[in-house]
Amino acid sequence: MATETAKGAALELHDLGKSYGGLKVLAGVNLNVLPGEFVTFLGPSGSGKTTTLNLIAGFADPDAGGRMELDGRSLAAVPAHKRDIGVVFQNYALFPHKTVRENIAFPLKQRRPRPDAATIARKVDRVLSLVHLEAFADRRPDQLSGGQQQRVALARAVVFEPKLLLLDEPLGALDKRLRESLQLELRRIHRELGVTIIFVTHDQDEALTLSDRIVVFREGAVEQIGTPAELYDTPGSEFVATFLGDSNIFAGTATANTFTQDVEGARFAALSGAADGPVKIMVRPENVTVSADGEGAANAVPITIADVVYSGATLRVEGIDARGKQLIARTRADGIAPTVGAKAWFCWEACATRIVATGNAA
């Protein structure tokens, strides 16, 4: 199976909304997914990501308005069973009374016209080998391990060659090692099938590892859309900055391109692009260095070292600034280890500063 990007479908969401009993749980979601793209919906529980997935799959009606188009075709009047969208469920939803083979053959038997028995057997065998489960075809789901059940669910969702595959926290129930190996397998299958994938998770590492693009959800709305690098390097809000990776946030005031905070001794580089008024800036821990005197750095904040954690290649240094706020630096572990209780400076380059909020949001 060679890479065929044409096998994936494009998906467009316009102003999609959903309410439950008068309570709006999703408001105005807009999204364009490209053919063959791997898009992750990331957000805390209750942020609307699974609701959006259910709307795309047709398990719920977008009663608060909006449109969905799959390859330019509106999904409004198409019932769930005619959408040709594969879904992998959180707890797999394998039919307990059917064997692995019968589970995987099930969607093929629903096609019209119905494929003949030989075709069905051939297609089932092909996906079984894709997920390396040839030896388990005649077992029942309760005779399989969690990871194996997961792969059967995946095989069942792709066997009828849908152009769009939805995965709802499919790795949530598995342990860390198994998750990582299945993440790699998922990437491989995505490459081989060329199908468009929408993947729901609340695990930021999973999102960063797997996705072409990430959609960050917050309180029923899209907070930011971007590639993993874009979201990590230039988060559009404090929420995104703190949700994806560790961050140090400073709240202060911008006046004529200078950032000021009422902390004694702290020094900040000139800030371009911020309107006058309240502002929040952010720096990632790996861009922060620990220095004894803070001399010569564009940004320097005096701190008291609270904790030092050794983790292989890096040191995680926790400092408390003059306001009592906790800050984090992640530095190479080859220098002299700072001692807990000592006074020091957290320093970083001017270009490492990001503005994450201005005006009322700050």
Binding site: G21, G22, A57, G58, F59, P79, A80, H81, K82, R83, D84, I85, G86, V87, F89, Q90, N91, A93, L94, F95, P96, H97, F106, P107, Q110, R111, R156, A157, F160, L166
Partner: protein, 548 residues
């Protein structure tokens, strides 16, 4: 969210369509005739409340009301005292022992009420087993037939399974870790029982007591056969007011009084506990806990087993006498009463009618219950409570009232003494029993299976037949079995609805006991007993295998 808005209808169209058949059925054949009874009670010659004045100024009637309440309370208390330790013992066992203890209760539950009533008459009558034993021990003899004591003993034995199942179901739901936690916190065994176990088993205590009380209140068969006119109970009064005195308004007023007593007990407890839901839902579960139990508990358990089983067994020897007599021990040996059962138009005809009715009732009530169960899955918690209450209501209305109500309606519609009439009347009684196991299985059933099937391209219909139906088949079989047994065993409604040309087997048995001495009933009882034992043992083995 207002559930009365037009939005509610469009949002729940599927649910409402599934509910339509059962709602229409119950409204037409259950609620409406009960309303008619209510109307009749105000429609006598003596003005709107004339019947009630007549009823409550009669010393006899008022005494009957109090006697009925007293007997029902006594039966409930005794069932609780006997049933609680037994249910406790069941929860403490597992595997084969649990299957045995459960099987005994099931066997008793499924043994025809007529068979058990007949057995009690034989035991309690003059020259019956108990009388003979008392004489042999040197007493003057002990005849309990015709006494309130005899009626109470027989009713306790018949009602016991209705108490044990909810008790067991509630106790099986108690988390064993709570007991360990309590012990580890320094509580003694007794304190743990009093402060942890008993309060947590309360839903079972309440559920069982309500069902036993309400059923005892309107129980007809045993008071009618074991009791005597001098200690008449309310159900019998209603029947004789209709059949002997032909005073429909007064009978209706008496029914309304009985219904009010039942509601007075049921409604307050329904507010606090899920009374109706716990009746039979989990009797087949295998979650025993093991552990060593006190020898006294086992001895008590053995006595309860004897109480549940022995009355059934005494009918067997009575089916072989040479003469037309129920004397004990029976004289001689012959198969003539079995031959009579199969050759007599009355007995064999009644048997065939019963089978026909029961098969049809099984079908209609299972289908209606599946519809209602599916609707349950598609509705919010609040709507769910309404659906449950609606389907289970016939269970908490005394049988004699349903009988009177349906009889009145069928008079107008010419449905008395027809198969259709029997099927409709029995379906009302069978619906709650069919619904409970089916609804329980459907509720456990994960919505994700339906979504998965839809995402894989299966239509609603395909999903129902290929995914839902196979997965709920066990619950459906249980529900169907209950429906069959309830219909096959039903007496009081059939007494009203049936007639000379068409009788069900239990009615034939009732008339036989009431009117003559004919050992054919012992032969019929023996065969029913064997059939029941076969079904219960087979299904116990089947579920045991499944559980493994």
């Amino acid at each position: 969210m207002s559930s009365g808005s037009p939005n509610f209808i469009s949002r729940n169209r599927g649910m409402l369509m599934l509910m339509a058949p059962i709602v229409a059925f119950l409204a037409l054949f259950f609620a409406w005739p009960v309303v008619l009874v209510l109307g009749n009670s105000f429609g006598g010659d003596g003005g709107p409340i004339g019947e009630y004045i007549e009823f409550f100024t009669s010393n006899t009637y008022v005494r009957i009301v109090f006697r009925t309440i007293f007997v029902a309370l006594l039966v409930t208390a005794l069932c609780l005292l006997i049933g609680y330790p037994y249910a406790y013992l069941m929860v403490r066992t597992k595997g084969k022992m649990l299957a045995f203890l459960t099987g005994v209760v099931l066997l008793s539950f499924f043994t025809s009420v007529m068979v058990r009533s007949f057995a009690w008459i034989v035991m309690l009558q003059r020259n019956g087993i108990i009388d003979r034993i008392a004489q042999w021990l040197g007493f003057d003899g002990l005849v309990l037939r015709g006494s309130t004591t005899g009626v109470t003993i027989a009713m306790v034995q018949v009602m016991l399974p209705f108490m044990i199942f909810p008790l067991y179901s509630a106790m099986a739901g108690i988390d064993t870790r709570l007991e360990r936690a309590s012990t580890s916190l320094g509580a003694t065994k007794w304190t743990t029982f009093r402060d942890i176990w008993f309060p947590l088993s309360m839903p079972g205590v309440i559920g069982g007591s309500v069902i036993v009380f309400v059923t005892s209140l309107g129980f007809y068969v045993i008071p009618g056969l074991v009791g005597s006119p001098s200690n008449q109970l309310l159900s019998h009064l209603i029947y004789s007011l209709i059949n002997t005195v032909l005073n429909v308004p007064l009978a209706s007023a008496a029914s309304v009084v009985m219904l009010l007593i039942a509601l007075l007990v049921v409604l307050p407890t329904m507010m606090r506990y899920d009374v109706t839901g716990s009746t039979t839902s989990r009797f087949a579960s295998d979650e025993g806990r093991g552990g060593k139990q006190s020898i006294w508990l086992w001895i008590f358990g053995a006595l309860v087993i004897a109480l549940l089983l022995v009355p059934g067994l005494v009918v067997i020897p009575l089916s072989f006498p040479e003469n037309r007599s129920f004397a004990f021990p029976p004289q001689g040996f012959s198969w003539q009463w079995y031959a009579n059962f199969f050759s007599s138009r009355q007995w064999w005809g009644a048997f065939i009618t019963s089978i026909q009715v029961a098969v049809l009732v099984t079908f209609t009530s299972t289908v209606l219950a599946v519809f209602a169960g599916l609707a349950l899955r598609r509705s919010s918690t609040r709507v769910r409570t309404v659906i449950r209450a609606l389907v289970l209501t016939p269970r908490i209305v005394p049988g004699v009232i349903i009988a009177l109500a349906v009889y009145g309606l069928f008079l107008d519609w010419r449905l008395n003494i027809t198969i259709t009439g029997f099927v409709i009347a029995h379906t009302i009684m069978a619906l709650p029993f069919a619904f409970i196991p089916i609804a329980a299985t459907l509720e456990q059933f994960d919505t994700r299976f339906e979504q998965a099937a839809a995402s894989l391209g299966a239509s609603r219909l395909t999903t129902f037949f290929q995914i839902i139906l196979p997965l709920i088949s066990t619950g459906m079989m249980t529900g169907a079995l209950f429906a069959f047994v309830i219909s096959f065993d039903e007496v009081v409604v059939s007494l009203f609805v049936g007639g000379v040309g068409m009788r069900t087997l239990p009615v034939q048995m009732y008339n036989s006991i009431a009117n003559d001495i004919d050992p054919t009933i012992a032969a019929a009882s023996t065969m029913l007993l064997l059939l029941t034992a076969f079904i219960v043992i087979a299904s116990t083995i089947f579920t045991q295998r499944r559980a493994r």
